[in-house]
């Protein structure tokens, strides 16, 4: 364990802990922008820069490990001034006036740049950087990239290369000219992009977004954490709900997915819920016409129960069988097998594990 003092609070942390990690343990908040746990800690935005006693320059808290006896100051005049300048420089390149004013941006209310600037009292930039408009890449069915809003924090690069390890999203050029090469342009089909959208989830601004984000505003929604309904990895996700309709998802840090999702979990786990093709009333087949006719639940369930009871009485319980669904919940499956065993009177009950 290492001893460190942060803004006068003394704590012990495990070796390898960053200053940012230690501050969080001590209950001291250091703002960040380009840092994202397990995804990116390149320290390029300088928003987390703080003072360390005995060091002349400010150091980035997100990627500097704690050393024994370190004394850290996160809220001095020098730190506040540096943080403000860092944000003003970022804001100058954010293209606020080019394509998307804050109030019309799809990330309004969910933008981390907006939040950090507001917290630090930065409302405009004194710097001017010429901002030629760059083309928006939006040929991909799910994802779009607006380079005008990109702050080159490279969290998307970390999401694609360090988390999903798909390696289709890169940077080009360096330093202040750093640009993101996102595979969502006209040739998107020719790329190896898996459309997982982990880059969009990582983006702190409206630069990389899921297109469906345009259908809602952050403050109109509520979030419900659940488990993905597709494969058996059991990814944890939030269903984003607006007016009793699921409009989006986001990955949650579950034990098997660590905030990541795949294309199916992120983009195909809710359209079917609201599909116009959903069955919405019980149906009974007319024996004469062979057509289904709408029925009440009372009618349908009595019809079901009387026919199963008739077969059970005439032929025996083992003339009945029930198949459970491996996509439905444990509670559904339990009650179905209980129905087969207690009401049908048979062990002819199985699920689709074999097929």
């Amino acid at each position: 364990m290492l001893n460190v003092t942060i803004d006068g609070r003394a704590i012990s942390v495990r070796e390898g802990t960053t200053i940012l990690g230690a501050a969080r343990q001590a209950g001291v908040s250091i703002p960040t922008l380009c840092y994202l746990k397990h995804v990116s800690n390149i320290g390029s935005c300088r928003v987390c820069a703080i003072e360390v006693e005995g060091r002349s320059e400010l150091v980035t808290a997100c990627n500097t490990p704690v050393a024994e006896g370190m004394v850290v100051t996160t809220d001095s005049e020098r730190v506040r001034s540096s943080r403000k300048t860092a944000l003003e420089l970022i804001l100058a390149r954010h293209g606020l006036d080019s394509t998307n004013y804050c109030f019309s941006c799809v990330k309004n209310g969910a933008c981390e740049l907006q939040t950090v600037c507001r917290e630090q009292g930065v409302v405009e930039s004194p710097y001017y950087v010429a901002q030629p408009r760059k083309a928006v890449l939006d040929s991909n069915p799910f994802l779009r990239f607006d380079p005008n809003l990109c702050i080159a924090c490279q969290r998307c690069v970390g999401a694609c290369n360090r988390a999903a390890r798909n390696h289709t999203l890169h940077t080009s050029k360096r330093g202040v000219r750093t640009a993101i090469e996102a595979p969502f342009g006209e040739n998107w089909r020719a790329t190896d992009c898996e459309n997982c959208g982990n880059c969009a989830q990582a983006c702190p601004t409206g630069a990389i977004t899921e297109k469906r984000r345009a259908s809602y505003r952050e403050w109109e929604t509520r979030k419900v954490q659940t488990t993905c309904p597709h494969c058996a990895v059991g990814c944890q996700l939030n269903l984003v709900v607006k007016d009793n309709r699921i409009v989006d998802t986001e990955g949650v840090a579950g034990p098997s997915n660590h905030s990541m999702l795949c294309v199916k979990g992120r983009s195909a786990s809710f359209d079917f819920v609201h599909s116009p093709e959903r069955l919405r009333t019980p149906l009974i087949k007319n024996k004469q016409t062979g057509e289904f006719e709408e029925a009440s639940w009372d009618e349908a369930l009595h019809y079901v129960a009387s026919n199963f009871t008739r077969i059970k009485q005439q032929v025996g319980p083992d003339a009945l069988a029930a198949f459970a669904c491996s996509r439905s919940t444990n509670e559904d499956v339990y009650m179905l097998q209980k129905m087969a065993r207690c009401a049908f009177g048979t062990n002819n009950v199985d699920n689709c594990a074999r097929v």
């Binding site: 309904p229 058996a232 199916k264 199963f308 444990n330 179905l336």
Partner: protein
């Protein structure tokens, strides 16, 4: 899985994948395997196709479909011969090693290489890499189970881990990557003809008595019929009434003609589903159930981890909770079943299932669990769950070995049907597409049937990449689009089973595994010609 995903991808020196394509079928697991490989974990891929991870593998054994047992026996042969076995583990925790050693004696590298059609040196290299590693998990999926010899395949893989003592500890284990979100749970919950919840056996009189007392009813002591064996019984008239919840066998079961004939033979078919599926069209009654987003509950993932499902929305129309549907039918058929919430149902499960005794919705939602779920066995309300199985020995005493010999697949290519067909999943759709094809973006990316065929076969048959082709087996014929490449070996083809415009299950063979009764989706014989 015996071990968690985090463990096998963070704590292993070598990962061996057998018949699994996690980048497409379990993508977020695939991402973590890619990360492991990039951090330096070695990778062995045993798969008949050039799956994405094969390109990142240290060794790819591109074996003939249906030869997994020969491969596994060959591995054990080499491990014994090279002295890479763990004598201490074998003596302490297993029995029957000598019989195993005698059985695999004839599986020399040369013989196995010939059966599997792989280079002998690669097989030896794979055995050395796995055997010399301290920590090495085996991960497998339907490429092992969906064979007439599927159970043998699984047991033979277990032999490899057991002789090396690579089970019951971190970064090891024998790990089936389960297919659907809750296929683990569906089995755990007793939707099995032989088992009540938690694999308590119907044939055990004490178990039967326990459930009779709890449920207040006299239960049928005769074990039931497995789903895949129900279909012939429907045709014979032995099974007359069937209730199907959310399953679409017309699209997903092998030999579609046979499935339709069976369903048409029933006196009474009820389907509870979200959509008018191909199977629902054959029903007498269709009941509109609810999706995962409209109910409370739990799923059990491939790590045996029970996690919460929460209600997010209500949809319009006269749908009903599936549990309420079952409860109503029970009462109407004369069994008194009080109406219960999902949380109350889980409490009943916990009261009857030792491995679930410590699991409740309240606990899963608690600060103690903090969203990490609980991995069964979880035997008491203060039990932390069991991340790794078989630590300190096997639950049922000493572990036994499989002595299964290699047996060829039931239907092999011949003059009339000269190519082998295997089937599987792709990234962009899921099973019968019932849920995924409602997302326009996925359909834009992938919505049509295709068949992968080797360059040499295509050249011989005059088929070019992108040509429409007719694919036929003894059971049926479909049209599809050829994708010509070296992804499959010569003489072998592969199709996804998602697409109704050319569904491979008109072709596949309903030959069943002797124990698990899983069909041989992975091997049948076909012919391909220009359409």
């Amino acid at each position: 899985m015996t071990n968690p995903i985090y463990d096998v991808t963070r704590n292993s020196d070598v990962i061996m994948l057998v018949g699994t394509n996690p980048e497409e079928a379990h993508p977020v697991f695939g991402m973590q395997i890619r990360a492991a490989v990039e951090r330096g974990t070695k990778l062995i891929v045993v798969d008949p196709r050039d799956i994405g991870l094969a390109a990142r593998a240290d060794i790819h054994l591109k074996l003939r479909p249906g030869t997994n047992v020969a491969f596994a026996n060959g591995m054990v042969h080499i491990l014994i011969e090279r002295g890479l076995i763990d004598r201490d583990f074998i003596d302490r925790y297993t029995e029957g090693f000598d019989a195993l050693a005698a059985m695999v004696a004839s599986y020399t590298p040369a013989r196995v290489a010939e059966i599997c059609r792989i280079p002998e040196d690669d097989l030896i290299a794979a055995a050395l890499l796995y055997g010399q590693a301290d920590r090495a998990p085996i991960l497998y999926c339907l490429g092992v189970t969906e064979h007439s010899t599927g159970t043998d395949g699984v047991m033979s893989l277990s032999n490899i881990a057991m002789v090396c003592g690579k089970i019951g500890r971190a970064g090891c284990g024998v790990n089936p990557i389960r297919g659907q979100n809750n296929v683990q749970g569906a089995c755990d919950m007793g939707a099995l003809p032989t088992d009540f919840t938690g694999y308590q056996k119907v044939e055990n009189p004490d178990v039967l008595r326990k459930f009779e007392q709890a449920w207040g009813v006299s239960l049928n002591p005769k074990v039931g019929t497995k789903a895949t064996e129900c279909f012939p019984k429907m045709i014979e008239g032995e099974i007359r009434g069937l209730f199907i919840c959310g399953e679409d066998p017309v699209r997903t079961d092998p030999d579609t003609h046979h499935v339709i004939k069976a369903l048409s033979s029933l006196e009474f078919l009820v389907v509870d589903d979200l959509f008018m599926t191909e199977t629902a069209k054959y029903a007498d009654v269709v009941l509109p159930g609810r999706s995962y987003a409209e109910k409370e509950g739990t799923f059990s993932n491939t790590e045996r981890r029970v996690q919460r499902v929460r209600k997010a929305v209500e949809v319009s129309g006269d749908t009903r909770l599936d549990t309420d549907i079952f409860i109503d039918i029970m009462n109407l058929m004369g069994y008194e079943q009080p109406r219960l919430t999902a949380a109350q149902i889980m409490d009943e499960i916990a009261s009857l299932t030792p491995s679930f005794a410590g699991i409740s919705h309240a606990r899963l939602d608690s600060a103690e669990i903090a969203g990490r779920g609980l991995q069964w066995p979880c035997t008491a309300p203060d039990h932390p769950g069991t991340p790794i199985l078989h630590v300190g020995g096997f639950a049922r005493g000493k572990g036994g070995y499989s002595l299964a010999e290699y047996r060829p697949s039931v239907e092999l290519p011949d003059d009339e049907f000269p190519l082998m067909l295997s089937t599987g999943r792709i990234l962009y759709q899921y099973n019968a597409c019932a849920l995924t094809d409602k997302t326009a973006g996925l359909n834009e990316i992938a919505s049509e049937s295709f068949i992968e065929i080797n360059d040499a076969d295509a050249a011989r048959l005059g088929i070019a990449d992108g040509d429409r082709v007719k694919v036929s087996s003894r059971r049926g014929s479909i049209e599809s689009t050829a994708r010509v490449s070296g992804k499959t070996n010569e003489g072998e083809t592969w199709m996804p089973f998602h697409f109704q415009d050319g569904n491979s299950n008109w072709l596949t063979n309903a030959a069943l595994d002797g124990v698990a009764k899983a069909p041989e989706y992975k091997v049948c014989a076909v012919s391909v010609e220009k359409a």
